[in-house]
Protein backbone atom coordinates (compact mmCIF):
# COMPACT_ATOMS: atom_id res chain seq x y z
CA UNK A 1 0.00 0.00 0.00
CA UNK A 2 1.43 3.35 -1.08
CA UNK A 3 1.06 6.53 0.95
CA UNK A 4 -1.41 7.89 -1.60
CA UNK A 5 -3.79 5.00 -0.81
CA UNK A 6 -4.12 5.73 2.92
CA UNK A 7 -7.16 7.56 4.29
CA UNK A 8 -6.64 11.19 5.25
CA UNK A 9 -7.00 10.66 8.99
CA UNK A 10 -4.24 8.02 8.97
CA UNK A 11 -1.92 10.22 6.93
CA UNK A 12 -2.47 13.17 9.25
CA UNK A 13 -1.73 11.04 12.33
CA UNK A 14 1.45 9.62 10.80
CA UNK A 15 2.54 13.05 9.59
CA UNK A 16 2.05 14.61 13.01
CA UNK A 17 3.98 11.70 14.56
CA UNK A 18 6.77 12.69 12.13
CA UNK A 19 6.84 9.17 10.62
CA UNK A 20 6.30 10.63 7.15
CA UNK A 21 6.53 14.06 5.57
CA UNK A 22 4.05 16.07 3.51
CA UNK A 23 6.56 16.08 0.65
CA UNK A 24 6.64 12.26 0.71
CA UNK A 25 2.84 12.01 0.65
CA UNK A 26 2.75 14.41 -2.27
CA UNK A 27 5.48 12.54 -4.16
CA UNK A 28 3.55 9.29 -3.75
CA UNK A 29 0.38 10.94 -5.09
CA UNK A 30 2.11 12.45 -8.13
CA UNK A 31 3.79 9.11 -8.81
CA UNK A 32 0.33 7.51 -8.91
CA UNK A 33 -1.01 10.25 -11.17
CA UNK A 34 1.91 9.75 -13.54
CA UNK A 35 1.22 6.00 -13.60
CA UNK A 36 -2.54 5.94 -14.13
CA UNK A 37 -3.88 9.30 -15.31
CA UNK A 38 -2.69 9.30 -18.94
CA UNK A 39 -2.39 12.29 -21.23
CA UNK A 40 -3.82 15.62 -20.18
CA UNK A 41 -7.21 16.36 -21.76
CA UNK A 42 -7.67 19.32 -24.08
CA UNK A 43 -10.39 21.15 -26.00
CA UNK A 44 -8.78 20.28 -29.34
CA UNK A 45 -10.91 18.00 -31.56
CA UNK A 46 -10.65 14.60 -29.93
CA UNK A 47 -8.89 11.71 -31.63
CA UNK A 48 -8.80 8.55 -29.54
CA UNK A 49 -5.43 7.00 -28.77
CA UNK A 50 -4.99 3.39 -27.69
CA UNK A 51 -3.71 4.34 -24.25
CA UNK A 52 -6.77 6.52 -23.52
CA UNK A 53 -8.91 3.46 -22.89
CA UNK A 54 -6.59 2.27 -20.12
CA UNK A 55 -6.16 5.48 -18.16
CA UNK A 56 -8.26 7.46 -15.70
CA UNK A 57 -7.94 11.04 -17.06
CA UNK A 58 -9.13 12.54 -13.79
CA UNK A 59 -7.26 15.84 -14.06
CA UNK A 60 -7.67 18.85 -16.32
CA UNK A 61 -4.67 20.63 -14.77
CA UNK A 62 -2.06 19.92 -12.11
CA UNK A 63 -0.41 22.55 -9.92
CA UNK A 64 2.73 20.62 -9.01
CA UNK A 65 4.95 23.55 -8.00
CA UNK A 66 2.25 25.24 -5.95
CA UNK A 67 1.54 21.94 -4.17
CA UNK A 68 5.19 21.22 -3.50
CA UNK A 69 5.67 24.66 -2.01
CA UNK A 70 2.72 24.09 0.32
CA UNK A 71 4.00 20.63 1.32
CA UNK A 72 7.38 22.12 2.22
CA UNK A 73 5.67 24.83 4.25
CA UNK A 74 3.72 22.19 6.19
CA UNK A 75 6.85 20.15 6.85
CA UNK A 76 8.58 23.32 8.07
CA UNK A 77 5.67 24.11 10.37
CA UNK A 78 5.87 20.62 11.85
CA UNK A 79 9.64 20.95 12.29
CA UNK A 80 9.02 24.14 14.29
CA UNK A 81 6.52 22.31 16.48
CA UNK A 82 3.51 24.11 14.99
CA UNK A 83 0.20 22.42 14.11
CA UNK A 84 -0.57 22.83 10.39
CA UNK A 85 -4.19 21.79 10.90
CA UNK A 86 -6.53 18.79 10.92
CA UNK A 87 -5.92 18.01 7.22
CA UNK A 88 -2.18 18.67 7.31
CA UNK A 89 -0.43 17.45 4.20
CA UNK A 90 -3.44 15.69 2.69
CA UNK A 91 -3.49 15.85 -1.15
CA UNK A 92 -6.78 17.32 -2.33
CA UNK A 93 -8.18 17.56 -5.85
CA UNK A 94 -10.61 20.33 -6.72
CA UNK A 95 -13.50 19.93 -9.14
CA UNK A 96 -12.71 22.48 -11.82
CA UNK A 97 -15.89 24.41 -11.08
CA UNK A 98 -14.27 26.16 -8.10
CA UNK A 99 -12.12 29.26 -8.49
CA UNK A 100 -8.58 29.08 -7.15
CA UNK A 101 -6.58 32.30 -7.38
CA UNK A 102 -3.92 32.25 -10.05
CA UNK A 103 -4.99 28.82 -11.29
CA UNK A 104 -6.93 27.90 -14.47
CA UNK A 105 -10.61 27.50 -13.54
CA UNK A 106 -12.36 26.15 -16.62
CA UNK A 107 -15.75 24.64 -15.63
CA UNK A 108 -14.69 22.05 -18.26
CA UNK A 109 -15.89 24.50 -20.89
CA UNK A 110 -14.17 26.03 -23.87
CA UNK A 111 -15.75 29.26 -22.65
CA UNK A 112 -13.35 29.40 -19.67
CA UNK A 113 -10.45 27.46 -21.16
CA UNK A 114 -7.99 30.29 -20.53
CA UNK A 115 -9.63 31.83 -17.47
CA UNK A 116 -7.32 32.33 -14.49
CA UNK A 117 -9.41 32.93 -11.38
CA UNK A 118 -8.65 36.22 -9.59
CA UNK A 119 -9.83 34.90 -6.21
CA UNK A 120 -10.26 31.63 -4.30
CA UNK A 121 -13.53 29.89 -3.39
CA UNK A 122 -14.30 29.85 0.33
CA UNK A 123 -14.46 26.04 0.47
CA UNK A 124 -11.00 25.73 -1.09
CA UNK A 125 -9.57 28.46 1.11
CA UNK A 126 -10.88 26.76 4.26
CA UNK A 127 -9.58 23.33 3.25
CA UNK A 128 -6.14 24.80 2.56
CA UNK A 129 -6.24 26.71 5.86
CA UNK A 130 -6.86 23.30 7.51
CA UNK A 131 -3.63 22.03 5.96
CA UNK A 132 -4.93 20.22 2.85
CA UNK A 133 -2.79 20.60 -0.26
CA UNK A 134 -4.71 21.39 -3.45
CA UNK A 135 -2.80 19.54 -6.15
CA UNK A 136 -4.93 19.98 -9.25
CA UNK A 137 -8.27 20.60 -10.90
CA UNK A 138 -10.31 17.54 -11.88
CA UNK A 139 -12.62 17.02 -14.84
CA UNK A 140 -16.43 17.25 -14.80
CA UNK A 141 -19.35 17.58 -17.15
CA UNK A 142 -19.27 20.99 -18.82
CA UNK A 143 -20.51 23.48 -16.19
CA UNK A 144 -21.53 20.31 -14.20
CA UNK A 145 -24.31 19.57 -16.73
CA UNK A 146 -24.39 15.81 -16.84
CA UNK A 147 -24.08 12.53 -14.97
CA UNK A 148 -21.13 10.88 -16.71
CA UNK A 149 -18.41 13.56 -17.23
CA UNK A 150 -18.62 12.81 -20.96
CA UNK A 151 -19.91 16.28 -21.81
CA UNK A 152 -16.65 17.92 -20.73
CA UNK A 153 -15.04 20.08 -23.41
CA UNK A 154 -11.75 18.58 -22.19
CA UNK A 155 -11.27 15.16 -23.80
CA UNK A 156 -10.50 12.41 -23.10
CA UNK A 157 -13.02 12.69 -20.27
CA UNK A 158 -12.52 10.82 -17.00
CA UNK A 159 -12.89 7.04 -16.92
CA UNK A 160 -14.00 4.74 -14.13
CA UNK A 161 -10.93 3.25 -12.37
CA UNK A 162 -12.90 0.01 -11.83
CA UNK A 163 -13.36 -0.38 -15.58
CA UNK A 164 -12.03 2.37 -17.85
CA UNK A 165 -14.57 1.38 -20.53
CA UNK A 166 -17.20 2.80 -18.17
CA UNK A 167 -18.00 6.31 -16.98
CA UNK A 168 -17.07 7.49 -13.50
CA UNK A 169 -20.48 9.15 -13.16
CA UNK A 170 -20.88 12.85 -12.89
CA UNK A 171 -20.75 15.60 -12.75
CA UNK A 172 -17.99 15.21 -10.12
CA UNK A 173 -16.59 12.30 -12.14
CA UNK A 174 -12.97 13.41 -12.03
CA UNK A 175 -13.24 13.83 -8.26
CA UNK A 176 -14.60 10.32 -7.66
CA UNK A 177 -12.17 8.73 -10.12
CA UNK A 178 -9.18 10.52 -8.55
CA UNK A 179 -10.09 9.42 -5.02
CA UNK A 180 -10.77 5.83 -6.14
CA UNK A 181 -7.46 5.56 -8.02
CA UNK A 182 -5.28 7.10 -5.31
CA UNK A 183 -4.70 10.21 -7.40
CA UNK A 184 -5.88 12.36 -4.51
CA UNK A 185 -6.84 11.42 -0.99
CA UNK A 186 -9.76 13.84 -0.87
CA UNK A 187 -11.69 15.77 -3.47
CA UNK A 188 -13.93 18.80 -3.34
CA UNK A 189 -17.05 18.31 -5.46
CA UNK A 190 -20.49 19.79 -5.93
CA UNK A 191 -23.92 18.16 -5.81
CA UNK A 192 -26.84 19.80 -7.63
CA UNK A 193 -28.78 16.62 -8.44
CA UNK A 194 -26.55 13.88 -7.09
CA UNK A 195 -23.30 15.03 -8.67
CA UNK A 196 -21.27 14.01 -5.61
CA UNK A 197 -23.23 10.91 -4.57
CA UNK A 198 -23.77 9.30 -7.99
CA UNK A 199 -20.08 9.34 -9.06
CA UNK A 200 -19.10 8.27 -5.53
CA UNK A 201 -21.38 5.24 -5.95
CA UNK A 202 -20.03 4.47 -9.44
CA UNK A 203 -16.39 4.67 -8.29
CA UNK A 204 -16.68 2.99 -4.89
CA UNK A 205 -15.90 6.01 -2.70
CA UNK A 206 -17.72 8.10 -0.11
CA UNK A 207 -19.54 11.24 -1.25
CA UNK A 208 -21.42 13.63 1.03
CA UNK A 209 -23.93 16.28 -0.02
CA UNK A 210 -24.36 18.58 2.97
CA UNK A 211 -27.52 20.50 3.79
CA UNK A 212 -28.09 23.40 1.38
CA UNK A 213 -26.42 26.42 3.00
CA UNK A 214 -24.02 24.37 5.12
CA UNK A 215 -21.04 25.15 2.87
CA UNK A 216 -20.47 28.50 1.17
CA UNK A 217 -20.91 28.69 -2.60
CA UNK A 218 -18.61 31.72 -2.91
CA UNK A 219 -16.20 31.09 -5.76
CA UNK A 220 -18.27 28.20 -7.14
CA UNK A 221 -19.24 28.76 -10.78
CA UNK A 222 -23.01 28.57 -10.39
CA UNK A 223 -25.37 26.06 -12.00
CA UNK A 224 -28.62 25.81 -10.02
CA UNK A 225 -28.28 28.43 -7.34
CA UNK A 226 -31.07 27.01 -5.17
CA UNK A 227 -29.65 23.49 -5.44
CA UNK A 228 -25.83 23.62 -5.60
CA UNK A 229 -23.99 22.15 -2.58
CA UNK A 230 -20.21 21.87 -2.29
CA UNK A 231 -19.17 18.72 -0.46
CA UNK A 232 -16.49 16.09 0.14
CA UNK A 233 -15.50 12.96 -1.75
CA UNK A 234 -13.30 10.69 0.34
CA UNK A 235 -12.48 7.07 1.14
CA UNK A 236 -14.25 6.87 4.50
CA UNK A 237 -16.97 8.55 6.51
CA UNK A 238 -14.30 9.80 8.92
CA UNK A 239 -12.40 11.55 6.14
CA UNK A 240 -15.63 13.10 4.84
CA UNK A 241 -16.37 14.30 8.38
CA UNK A 242 -12.90 15.85 8.72
CA UNK A 243 -13.35 17.60 5.41
CA UNK A 244 -16.81 18.92 6.27
CA UNK A 245 -15.45 20.18 9.61
CA UNK A 246 -13.03 22.34 7.68
CA UNK A 247 -15.48 23.61 5.05
CA UNK A 248 -18.77 24.18 6.87
CA UNK A 249 -20.15 27.36 8.32
CA UNK A 250 -21.33 30.87 7.63
CA UNK A 251 -19.49 33.08 5.15
CA UNK A 252 -19.98 36.84 4.85
CA UNK A 253 -19.36 36.48 1.12
CA UNK A 254 -22.36 34.15 0.57
CA UNK A 255 -25.72 35.22 1.99
CA UNK A 256 -27.08 31.67 1.51
CA UNK A 257 -24.41 30.17 3.77
CA UNK A 258 -26.42 29.69 6.96
CA UNK A 259 -25.52 30.73 10.51
CA UNK A 260 -26.42 27.22 11.76
CA UNK A 261 -23.96 26.01 14.39
CA UNK A 262 -21.36 23.56 13.06
CA UNK A 263 -20.70 20.53 15.28
CA UNK A 264 -17.52 18.45 15.26
CA UNK A 265 -18.61 15.86 12.69
CA UNK A 266 -16.09 13.32 13.95
CA UNK A 267 -17.43 13.40 17.54
CA UNK A 268 -20.30 10.91 17.08
CA UNK A 269 -18.78 8.63 14.44
CA UNK A 270 -18.16 5.79 16.90
CA UNK A 271 -21.43 6.20 18.80
CA UNK A 272 -23.22 3.40 16.93
CA UNK A 273 -26.85 3.29 15.85
CA UNK A 274 -28.58 1.89 18.93
CA UNK A 275 -32.06 3.36 19.15
CA UNK A 276 -31.80 5.14 15.80
CA UNK A 277 -34.85 4.79 13.54
CA UNK A 278 -33.79 3.88 10.02
CA UNK A 279 -36.46 4.18 7.35
CA UNK A 280 -36.94 2.20 4.14
CA UNK A 281 -39.26 3.67 1.54
CA UNK A 282 -40.90 1.59 -1.20
CA UNK A 283 -40.71 4.72 -3.38
CA UNK A 284 -36.93 4.27 -3.57
CA UNK A 285 -37.19 0.61 -4.56
CA UNK A 286 -39.93 0.83 -7.19
CA UNK A 287 -39.23 3.66 -9.60
CA UNK A 288 -40.62 5.41 -12.66
CA UNK A 289 -37.90 5.14 -15.27
CA UNK A 290 -37.54 5.52 -19.06
CA UNK A 291 -37.79 2.26 -20.97
CA UNK A 292 -34.33 1.90 -22.59
CA UNK A 293 -35.94 0.87 -25.90
CA UNK A 294 -38.93 3.18 -26.25
CA UNK A 295 -38.05 6.01 -23.88
CA UNK A 296 -41.57 5.81 -22.38
CA UNK A 297 -41.70 6.19 -18.62
CA UNK A 298 -42.90 3.10 -16.81
CA UNK A 299 -43.00 1.81 -13.26
CA UNK A 300 -40.47 -0.87 -12.47
CA UNK A 301 -38.85 -2.56 -9.51
CA UNK A 302 -35.17 -1.86 -9.11
CA UNK A 303 -33.06 -4.96 -9.81
CA UNK A 304 -32.33 -7.27 -6.91
CA UNK A 305 -28.60 -6.61 -7.41
CA UNK A 306 -29.21 -2.94 -6.52
CA UNK A 307 -31.68 -3.40 -3.66
CA UNK A 308 -30.22 -6.46 -1.89
CA UNK A 309 -27.17 -4.61 -0.49
CA UNK A 310 -29.50 -1.94 0.94
CA UNK A 311 -31.71 -4.50 2.67
CA UNK A 312 -28.63 -6.27 3.95
CA UNK A 313 -27.28 -2.98 5.32
CA UNK A 314 -30.60 -2.46 7.09
CA UNK A 315 -30.31 -5.96 8.62
CA UNK A 316 -26.76 -5.31 9.81
CA UNK A 317 -27.73 -1.97 11.34
CA UNK A 318 -30.79 -3.57 12.97
CA UNK A 319 -28.55 -6.18 14.61
CA UNK A 320 -26.53 -3.28 16.00
CA UNK A 321 -29.56 -1.84 17.70
CA UNK A 322 -31.22 0.34 15.08
CA UNK A 323 -34.96 0.17 14.62
CA UNK A 324 -35.91 -0.43 10.98
CA UNK A 325 -39.07 1.38 9.88
CA UNK A 326 -40.56 -0.14 6.74
CA UNK A 327 -42.89 1.54 4.24
CA UNK A 328 -42.01 5.17 4.84
CA UNK A 329 -44.09 6.94 2.18
CA UNK A 330 -42.17 9.30 -0.13
CA UNK A 331 -44.89 9.49 -2.78
CA UNK A 332 -43.49 12.39 -4.78
CA UNK A 333 -40.08 10.83 -5.43
CA UNK A 334 -41.04 9.97 -9.01
CA UNK A 335 -41.70 13.65 -9.75
CA UNK A 336 -38.26 14.78 -8.67
CA UNK A 337 -36.66 14.43 -12.13
CA UNK A 338 -39.51 16.12 -14.04
CA UNK A 339 -39.43 19.02 -11.55
CA UNK A 340 -35.66 19.15 -11.77
CA UNK A 341 -35.80 19.34 -15.57
CA UNK A 342 -37.67 22.61 -15.16
CA UNK A 343 -36.15 24.26 -12.08
CA UNK A 344 -32.51 23.51 -12.85
CA UNK A 345 -32.84 24.68 -16.46
CA UNK A 346 -34.34 28.01 -15.46
CA UNK A 347 -31.55 28.58 -12.95
CA UNK A 348 -28.86 27.39 -15.38
CA UNK A 349 -30.10 29.62 -18.20
CA UNK A 350 -30.09 32.58 -15.83
CA UNK A 351 -26.56 31.83 -14.61
CA UNK A 352 -25.21 31.31 -18.13
CA UNK A 353 -26.24 34.76 -19.33
CA UNK A 354 -23.05 36.16 -17.82
CA UNK A 355 -20.89 34.34 -20.36
CA UNK A 356 -21.00 36.79 -23.21
CA UNK A 357 -17.44 37.43 -24.36
CA UNK A 358 -17.21 40.80 -22.61
CA UNK A 359 -15.90 40.49 -19.06
CA UNK A 360 -13.94 37.23 -19.08
CA UNK A 361 -13.60 33.97 -20.92
CA UNK A 362 -13.83 33.27 -24.63
CA UNK A 363 -14.58 36.00 -27.18
CA UNK A 364 -15.12 35.20 -30.82
CA UNK A 365 -12.34 36.30 -33.13
CA UNK A 366 -14.76 36.70 -36.03
CA UNK A 367 -15.70 40.15 -37.26
CA UNK A 368 -19.05 40.97 -35.69
CA UNK A 369 -21.73 43.48 -36.64
CA UNK A 370 -22.57 44.67 -33.16
CA UNK A 371 -22.67 43.65 -29.49
CA UNK A 372 -25.58 41.25 -29.94
CA UNK A 373 -23.72 39.50 -32.73
CA UNK A 374 -20.69 39.25 -30.45
CA UNK A 375 -22.83 37.47 -27.82
CA UNK A 376 -24.26 35.04 -30.37
CA UNK A 377 -20.98 34.14 -32.03
CA UNK A 378 -19.11 33.84 -28.74
CA UNK A 379 -21.72 31.59 -27.16
CA UNK A 380 -22.14 29.53 -30.32
CA UNK A 381 -18.41 28.82 -30.43
CA UNK A 382 -17.65 28.24 -26.77
CA UNK A 383 -20.68 26.51 -25.26
CA UNK A 384 -21.01 22.78 -25.82
CA UNK A 385 -24.32 21.08 -26.52
CA UNK A 386 -25.33 20.62 -22.88
CA UNK A 387 -25.14 24.30 -21.90
CA UNK A 388 -27.02 25.17 -25.10
CA UNK A 389 -29.71 22.62 -24.27
CA UNK A 390 -30.12 23.97 -20.75
CA UNK A 391 -30.32 27.57 -21.87
CA UNK A 392 -33.01 26.77 -24.44
CA UNK A 393 -35.12 24.74 -22.02
CA UNK A 394 -34.68 27.36 -19.30
CA UNK A 395 -35.84 30.11 -21.66
CA UNK A 396 -38.86 28.07 -22.73
CA UNK A 397 -40.25 26.92 -19.39
CA UNK A 398 -39.80 30.33 -17.77
CA UNK A 399 -41.26 32.29 -20.71
CA UNK A 400 -44.21 34.47 -19.75
CA UNK A 401 -46.79 32.32 -21.52
CA UNK A 402 -45.45 28.98 -20.21
CA UNK A 403 -44.20 29.77 -16.71
CA UNK A 404 -47.42 28.92 -14.89
CA UNK A 405 -47.70 25.57 -16.64
CA UNK A 406 -44.08 24.63 -16.10
CA UNK A 407 -41.93 26.68 -13.76
CA UNK A 408 -44.55 27.57 -11.17
CA UNK A 409 -45.92 24.03 -11.17
CA UNK A 410 -42.42 22.56 -10.76
CA UNK A 411 -41.77 24.84 -7.79
CA UNK A 412 -45.05 23.71 -6.21
CA UNK A 413 -44.21 20.05 -6.81
CA UNK A 414 -40.92 20.83 -5.10
CA UNK A 415 -42.94 21.84 -2.04
CA UNK A 416 -44.62 18.41 -2.12
CA UNK A 417 -41.23 16.67 -2.34
CA UNK A 418 -40.00 18.73 0.58
CA UNK A 419 -43.10 17.77 2.58
CA UNK A 420 -42.33 14.07 2.02
CA UNK A 421 -39.01 14.57 3.83
CA UNK A 422 -40.56 16.73 6.56
CA UNK A 423 -43.21 14.10 7.29
CA UNK A 424 -40.72 11.23 7.28
CA UNK A 425 -38.26 12.89 9.64
CA UNK A 426 -40.91 14.45 11.89
CA UNK A 427 -42.82 11.28 12.60
CA UNK A 428 -41.23 8.13 11.38
CA UNK A 429 -37.48 7.91 11.13
CA UNK A 430 -34.15 9.65 11.72
CA UNK A 431 -32.60 8.67 8.39
CA UNK A 432 -33.66 6.92 5.20
CA UNK A 433 -31.63 4.11 3.66
CA UNK A 434 -31.83 3.81 -0.14
CA UNK A 435 -29.73 2.75 -3.12
CA UNK A 436 -27.76 5.72 -4.50
CA UNK A 437 -28.29 4.86 -8.18
CA UNK A 438 -30.63 2.63 -10.18
CA UNK A 439 -27.70 1.02 -12.05
CA UNK A 440 -23.95 0.59 -11.59
CA UNK A 441 -21.57 2.57 -13.83
CA UNK A 442 -22.60 2.37 -17.48
CA UNK A 443 -20.32 2.16 -20.50
CA UNK A 444 -18.98 5.27 -22.20
CA UNK A 445 -21.33 6.29 -24.99
CA UNK A 446 -24.16 4.02 -23.79
CA UNK A 447 -26.32 6.86 -22.46
CA UNK A 448 -24.58 10.05 -23.58
CA UNK A 449 -26.66 11.88 -26.17
CA UNK A 450 -29.98 10.84 -24.59
CA UNK A 451 -30.47 13.70 -22.16
CA UNK A 452 -33.60 12.17 -20.62
CA UNK A 453 -32.06 8.80 -19.80
CA UNK A 454 -28.91 10.53 -18.53
CA UNK A 455 -30.95 12.72 -16.19
CA UNK A 456 -32.75 9.68 -14.80
CA UNK A 457 -29.39 8.34 -13.55
CA UNK A 458 -29.93 10.86 -10.72
CA UNK A 459 -33.49 9.98 -9.78
CA UNK A 460 -32.71 8.56 -6.34
CA UNK A 461 -30.36 11.42 -5.48
CA UNK A 462 -32.23 14.50 -6.69
CA UNK A 463 -35.13 14.53 -4.17
CA UNK A 464 -32.68 15.56 -1.43
CA UNK A 465 -31.50 18.45 -3.61
CA UNK A 466 -35.06 19.69 -4.00
CA UNK A 467 -35.58 19.34 -0.24
CA UNK A 468 -32.21 20.87 0.69
CA UNK A 469 -31.52 17.95 3.04
CA UNK A 470 -28.18 16.11 3.46
CA UNK A 471 -27.24 12.71 2.06
CA UNK A 472 -24.22 10.47 1.72
CA UNK A 473 -23.29 7.64 -0.61
CA UNK A 474 -20.98 4.96 0.73
CA UNK A 475 -19.69 1.81 -0.97
CA UNK A 476 -21.76 -1.28 -0.10
CA UNK A 477 -20.23 -3.99 -2.26
CA UNK A 478 -19.55 -5.02 -5.83
CA UNK A 479 -22.01 -6.40 -8.35
CA UNK A 480 -21.52 -9.61 -10.38
CA UNK A 481 -19.33 -7.70 -12.84
CA UNK A 482 -17.14 -6.35 -10.06
CA UNK A 483 -18.58 -2.82 -10.25
CA UNK A 484 -19.08 -0.77 -7.08
CA UNK A 485 -22.55 -0.13 -5.67
CA UNK A 486 -23.61 2.76 -3.45
CA UNK A 487 -25.71 2.86 -0.31
CA UNK A 488 -27.40 6.21 0.30
CA UNK A 489 -28.20 7.58 3.75
CA UNK A 490 -30.54 10.59 3.70
CA UNK A 491 -30.94 12.77 6.77
CA UNK A 492 -32.82 15.71 8.21
CA UNK A 493 -31.93 19.40 7.86
CA UNK A 494 -28.46 20.21 9.29
CA UNK A 495 -28.09 16.64 10.57
CA UNK A 496 -25.03 15.52 8.62
CA UNK A 497 -23.70 14.17 11.93
CA UNK A 498 -26.31 11.39 12.06
CA UNK A 499 -25.88 10.60 8.37
CA UNK A 500 -22.12 10.26 8.93
CA UNK A 501 -22.67 8.17 12.07
CA UNK A 502 -24.81 5.64 10.17
CA UNK A 503 -22.21 5.55 7.39
CA UNK A 504 -19.34 5.02 9.84
CA UNK A 505 -21.28 2.28 11.64
CA UNK A 506 -21.92 0.45 8.36
CA UNK A 507 -18.22 0.76 7.48
CA UNK A 508 -17.30 -0.69 10.87
CA UNK A 509 -19.76 -3.59 10.52
CA UNK A 510 -18.44 -4.53 7.04
CA UNK A 511 -14.81 -3.67 7.66
CA UNK A 512 -13.51 -7.21 7.15
CA UNK A 513 -15.65 -8.21 4.17
CA UNK A 514 -13.79 -9.55 1.16
CA UNK A 515 -15.10 -6.93 -1.32
CA UNK A 516 -13.33 -4.19 0.62
CA UNK A 517 -9.93 -5.63 -0.30
CA UNK A 518 -10.65 -5.67 -4.06
CA UNK A 519 -8.78 -2.92 -5.90
CA UNK A 520 -9.98 -0.95 -8.94
CA UNK A 521 -8.85 -2.42 -12.27
CA UNK A 522 -6.34 0.36 -12.97
CA UNK A 523 -4.51 -0.51 -9.74
CA UNK A 524 -4.40 -4.28 -10.25
Amino acid sequence: MELCDFPAHTLVARLKAREISAVEILASTFQRIDAVDGRAPSTAPYTAQADDALKVHAYISLQRERALERARTIDAQLARGEDPGPLAGVPLSIKDIFCVEGVPSTAASKMLENYIAPYTATAVERLENAGAIAIGKVNLDEYTYGSSTESSAFQPSSRNPWDPARVPGGSSGGSAAAVAAGESVLSLGTDTAGSIRQPAAFCGVVGLKPTYGRVSRYGLIAFGSSLDCPGPLARSARDAALMLNAMAGADPRDSTAALAPVPDYTAQLDAGVKGLRIGLSPDYFRIRYPDPQTGELRDMDLPEAITAPVRRAADLLARSGAEIVENVPMPNTALAIPAYFVISRVEAASNLHRFDGVKYGHRTQKTVQDLRDLYRQTRAEAFGLQPKLRILMGMYVSGAQYAKQYYQRALRVRTLIRRDFEAAFANQCDVLLTPTTPTPAFELGAVYGDSVLMQYADLLAVPANHAGTPGISIPCGLDAQGLPLGLQVLGNDWDEATVLRVAATYEHLTHDEAWRSVKPMVLQ
Binding site: P118, L335, A339, D370, I391, L416, G468
Partner: protein, 106 residues
Amino acid sequence: MSDEITPELFTRLVELAALELTAEESNYLRGQLNGQLKAIAELERIPVPDDVPPAAHGLTFAPEFRPPLRADEAHVNLELAARILGQAPSAEEGYFVVPEIPHQEL
Protein backbone atom coordinates in the same frame (compact mmCIF):
# COMPACT_ATOMS: atom_id res chain seq x y z
CA MET B 1 -48.18 13.39 -30.80
CA SER B 2 -46.90 16.54 -32.50
CA ASP B 3 -43.81 18.24 -31.17
CA GLU B 4 -44.50 20.93 -28.62
CA ILE B 5 -41.47 22.90 -29.73
CA THR B 6 -41.95 23.46 -33.44
CA PRO B 7 -39.11 24.59 -35.71
CA GLU B 8 -40.56 28.14 -35.64
CA LEU B 9 -40.74 28.27 -31.85
CA PHE B 10 -37.26 26.78 -31.65
CA THR B 11 -35.86 29.53 -33.88
CA ARG B 12 -37.42 32.14 -31.59
CA LEU B 13 -35.86 30.46 -28.52
CA VAL B 14 -32.43 30.39 -30.15
CA GLU B 15 -32.73 34.11 -30.83
CA LEU B 16 -33.77 34.84 -27.23
CA ALA B 17 -30.94 32.68 -25.90
CA ALA B 18 -28.35 34.66 -27.91
CA LEU B 19 -27.13 31.51 -29.63
CA GLU B 20 -26.42 30.51 -33.18
CA LEU B 21 -26.68 26.84 -34.12
CA THR B 22 -25.74 24.62 -37.02
CA ALA B 23 -28.53 22.63 -38.68
CA GLU B 24 -27.21 19.47 -37.03
CA GLU B 25 -27.17 21.08 -33.59
CA SER B 26 -30.68 22.46 -34.10
CA ASN B 27 -32.04 19.10 -35.09
CA TYR B 28 -30.49 17.35 -32.09
CA LEU B 29 -31.37 20.02 -29.55
CA ARG B 30 -34.99 20.41 -30.66
CA GLY B 31 -35.42 16.63 -30.43
CA GLN B 32 -33.96 16.59 -26.92
CA LEU B 33 -36.16 19.49 -25.79
CA ASN B 34 -39.28 17.70 -26.96
CA GLY B 35 -38.10 14.48 -25.28
CA GLN B 36 -37.55 16.32 -22.01
CA LEU B 37 -40.97 17.95 -22.23
CA LYS B 38 -42.53 14.48 -22.33
CA ALA B 39 -40.81 13.72 -19.02
CA ILE B 40 -41.83 17.13 -17.67
CA ALA B 41 -45.46 16.33 -18.54
CA GLU B 42 -45.31 13.94 -15.58
CA LEU B 43 -45.81 17.01 -13.39
CA GLU B 44 -49.44 17.02 -14.58
CA ARG B 45 -49.92 13.44 -13.43
CA ILE B 46 -50.90 14.37 -9.89
CA PRO B 47 -53.22 17.06 -8.62
CA VAL B 48 -51.39 19.88 -6.87
CA PRO B 49 -53.82 21.60 -4.49
CA ASP B 50 -54.15 25.36 -4.94
CA ASP B 51 -52.86 26.05 -1.45
CA VAL B 52 -49.48 24.43 -2.13
CA PRO B 53 -47.04 27.33 -2.45
CA PRO B 54 -44.02 27.35 -4.78
CA ALA B 55 -40.66 26.58 -3.14
CA ALA B 56 -37.83 28.75 -4.43
CA HIS B 57 -35.59 26.86 -1.99
CA GLY B 58 -36.19 23.40 -0.55
CA LEU B 59 -35.14 24.43 2.91
CA THR B 60 -36.30 27.66 4.54
CA PHE B 61 -33.70 28.84 7.03
CA ALA B 62 -34.91 29.45 10.56
CA PRO B 63 -34.67 33.22 11.32
CA GLU B 64 -31.67 32.69 13.59
CA PHE B 65 -29.79 30.92 10.76
CA ARG B 66 -30.34 33.72 8.24
CA PRO B 67 -27.27 35.89 7.74
CA PRO B 68 -28.03 39.60 8.03
CA LEU B 69 -27.66 41.65 4.88
CA ARG B 70 -24.16 43.03 4.75
CA ALA B 71 -23.59 46.75 4.94
CA ASP B 72 -23.88 48.45 1.56
CA GLU B 73 -20.33 49.74 1.52
CA ALA B 74 -17.78 49.91 -1.24
CA HIS B 75 -14.56 48.00 -0.64
CA VAL B 76 -12.08 49.41 -3.10
CA ASN B 77 -9.34 47.01 -4.12
CA LEU B 78 -7.59 48.40 -7.17
CA GLU B 79 -5.19 45.49 -7.36
CA LEU B 80 -8.09 43.00 -7.57
CA ALA B 81 -9.90 45.26 -10.04
CA ALA B 82 -6.82 45.22 -12.25
CA ARG B 83 -6.67 41.42 -12.06
CA ILE B 84 -10.35 41.15 -13.00
CA LEU B 85 -9.93 43.56 -15.91
CA GLY B 86 -6.85 41.57 -16.88
CA GLN B 87 -9.18 38.66 -17.67
CA ALA B 88 -11.27 40.72 -20.09
CA PRO B 89 -10.91 39.84 -23.77
CA SER B 90 -10.56 43.57 -24.44
CA ALA B 91 -10.09 46.41 -21.93
CA GLU B 92 -8.89 50.00 -22.13
CA GLU B 93 -8.26 52.59 -19.41
CA GLY B 94 -10.14 50.55 -16.83
CA TYR B 95 -13.15 49.82 -19.04
CA PHE B 96 -14.39 46.72 -20.88
CA VAL B 97 -14.34 47.31 -24.62
CA VAL B 98 -17.29 46.08 -26.70
CA PRO B 99 -18.34 46.55 -30.30
CA GLU B 100 -21.19 48.81 -31.41
CA ILE B 101 -24.23 48.52 -29.13
CA PRO B 102 -27.45 48.18 -31.16
CA HIS B 103 -29.61 51.25 -30.56
CA GLN B 104 -32.36 53.30 -32.09
CA GLU B 105 -32.42 57.07 -32.35
CA LEU B 106 -35.42 58.35 -30.41
